[in-house]
């Protein structure tokens, strides 16, 4: 289990460094998703399955999709030939190797007989939920206010970009 943790931590660190040092935003996003997945694996190893699920669903799912949307919106005018160049093997071998490492660890952890791979003390979602809506209820309310403020702020900013684009569309 200690070894699993070290390998997963190395994958997380390597992919984070690769994220920061890429020149292409989409390649950086690929490495970023691998980094988030490996941090989710670390949560699972540490006995926090709820945090692991949230990490995969919210971080690697929702937030990264937002980044992909924005990069797609900004790269509208790129040509097809450039896109062909982007998906050459050197772009995806690194993330694939790191992801295969994670997949191998997952298979090892779920293999029957390797009970040592499972944490001794698991903090279940039930405990997290009881704590979240017991002593931390005020924090949940504050988080909901923050999310509402983020929604209104993002809508306001995007709303003011909108009219200029519409006028361009009218001219076309």
């Amino acid at each position: 289990m200690n070894m699993l943790f070290i390998i997963t931590g190395a994958v997380a660190l390597v992919s984070a460094v690769m994220t920061v040092t890429r020149s292409n935003a989409i390649h950086a996003l690929l490495y970023m998703v691998v980094s988030l997945l490996s941090v989710g694996m670390i949560f699972y190893i540490l006995g926090a399955p709820f945090a692991a699920a949230l990490e995969v669903i919210v971080y690697a799912g929702a937030i990264m999709v937002l980044f992909v949307f924005v990069i797609m919106m900004l790269n509208i005018n790129r040509s097809r030939s450039e896109e062909k160049q982007w998906i050459r093997p050197s772009a995806w071998t690194g993330p694939v190797i790191l992801t295969l490492t994670l997949a191998t660890e997952l298979v090892y952890a779920l293999w029957p007989g390797t009970n040592g791979a499972f944490p001794i003390l698991v903090i279940s979602p039930v405990e997290v939920g009881i704590s979240l809506f017991g002593p931390y209820l005020l924090g949940v309310e504050l988080a909901s206010m923050l999310l509402l403020a983020g929604l209104v702020g993002a809508y306001h900013l995007a709303h003011h970009i909108g009219p200029a684009r519409d006028r361009e569309g009218d001219r076309l």
């Binding site: 920061v20 996003l29 937030i63 924005v70 997290v128 900013l157």
Partner: protein
């Protein structure tokens, strides 16, 4: 407490991830990469909370991780809207272009 994994390992990993994100924010000038580096830093702080929660065997670490998740989601929504706004105004994502504010 979870005896198989020393708490130091988790905290060192969180610190290294945080340092990576910090170096990215300081070194990169592309706004998308700066936002991604901020994500790495927030993720590392969440990892530190979960490691501490696992060390003491309480759910508080995961609760704080969920709060960090909410903060991250709000930050990314507003940050990406600002990024689109910036791209609209400056025709690029270079953070050094935002130098006309005299205050």
């Amino acid at each position: 407490m979870n005896p198989a994994i020393p708490v130091e390992y988790g905290l060192v990993l969180a610190g290294l991830l945080f340092a990576t994100g910090l170096a990215g924010v300081l070194a990169r000038r592309d706004l998308i990469f700066m936002l991604l580096s901020l994500e790495i830093m927030l993720n590392a702080s969440g990892l530190a909370f979960v490691v501490a929660g696992a060390h003491w065997g309480t759910a508080d670490g995961q609760v704080m991780f969920i709060f960090i998740l909410a903060v991250t989601a709000a930050e990314v929504a507003v940050g990406l809207a600002l990024l689109l706004w910036f791209h609209h105004m400056h025709q690029g994502l270079d953070a050094d272009k935002a130098n006309e504010m005299r205050g």
